[in-house]
Assembly symmetry: C2
Homo-oligomer: 214 residues x 2
Amino acid sequence: MLAKNDGKEFSNYQFPFLIYIYGVDNTILQGYIKNVSERIPDEDLPLLASCAKYIHVKKGEALVKEGELCRSFFLVEKGYLRTWFNKDGVEINLDFTFEGQFTTSRKSIKNHTPSEVTIEAGEKTSVWIFDLDSINNEFGAHPQIVLFIRRLVVHILMMSEEHSDLFKLYTPTERYQYIEKNNPALLQRISLSQIASYLGVTRETLSRIRAKNH
Amino acid sequence: MLAKNDGKEFSNYQFPFLIYIYGVDNTILQGYIKNVSERIPDEDLPLLASCAKYIHVKKGEALVKEGELCRSFFLVEKGYLRTWFNKDGVEINLDFTFEGQFTTSRKSIKNHTPSEVTIEAGEKTSVWIFDLDSINNEFGAHPQIVLFIRRLVVHILMMSEEHSDLFKLYTPTERYQYIEKNNPALLQRISLSQIASYLGVTRETLSRIRAKNH
DNA sequence: ACCAACCTGTGACAATAATCACAATCTGTT
DNA sequence: AACAGATTGTGATTATTGTCACAGGTTGGT
């Protein structure tokens, strides 16, 4: 049975490290859902919010592991998630997901293939999980939910394009300046070493870029 | 009025260089549409195919220009389309779209903003155009079409992710080898100079990568 | 066949980034 | 306050890529 987020039911969700929160403020969640698309009618928001399960994840614990199938979308309520790829034993950061943002293992969820990436908590993190299988079981008949999931996929893919363009069009220094301007919170919350691979440079190079930028 | 592709009607589509073809073989088009998603029912294919207008584009002519709004999806029947970004006066190739593949200006069509990219024919090219405004006017009531367009957006975005990953994870040499293995047709049909910016290197560097690879 | 325009290969050199090594600084705990 | 462990800054050196210049080859049109 799926938690209804009304404080009256438990979830039997499989992760071993879940901590269930009662009476969480749902209006914030509904606002985050609304951000996915202006075109979601306000009257659908309570139903969509009820699809999500709220969990706590400790720093370093994974929501998706490399090689495992991913069937969920994750919405960060507090803290942040770090998505990384294992290249020859080295972790390459592909994404940081902060409060109010959605993420998932895009290829895994689309193609039903093992995830190539790991998604883990970068600090103590609270997450809303939209699990496709649970939703299908419980809410399969609701067209609003099916439509929301489609919009969510497009939303997440468009967001990730933004970061991709950085690599195709800009030099490492220009990438840093772009983040400085458009996502300064990232620079404040993530360590230089972690940001380096996210920008496609070594930590030494990023340190020097930062030094030249005053 | 929209051409019905049955050879009985003309389109008044606005591009000045259109050549209308009558009695084009629709089964190939339907096959391309089916490639977007296995889940499209076969009985919907004739309707979806009827949304498309068939045009010819001469080499170098643009279907989407930087600064213009893009409201269409393009499916290449023959030839290829080249999508490029103007960086400080230099053309950076972002995408090559070959027979059976779809493309569009993703950000423009999603956000209703001027296109940042230009999409033009790399050689004499035949294209099926799915124009959103025409489709809305003529077929707005058909839920199969609305669903197809959503699937098409996801399909195109997922394809473009493939190319983005090249930049985030691999060196220029590794990118070349990836293309060699996974898209050898591209290397045969596109000139070295054009491929260079697509791989994020200068033409001299790509020439040397190719030389070392035998 | 000829020519002009374009494309490709390659050398010399400059600029940029990676690698290695280590010092300095920061952080959290006791 | 003192310490250990992690993070960051920086110099020296190497490797990679870009820039500039030009030679040779290819292509398409008359």
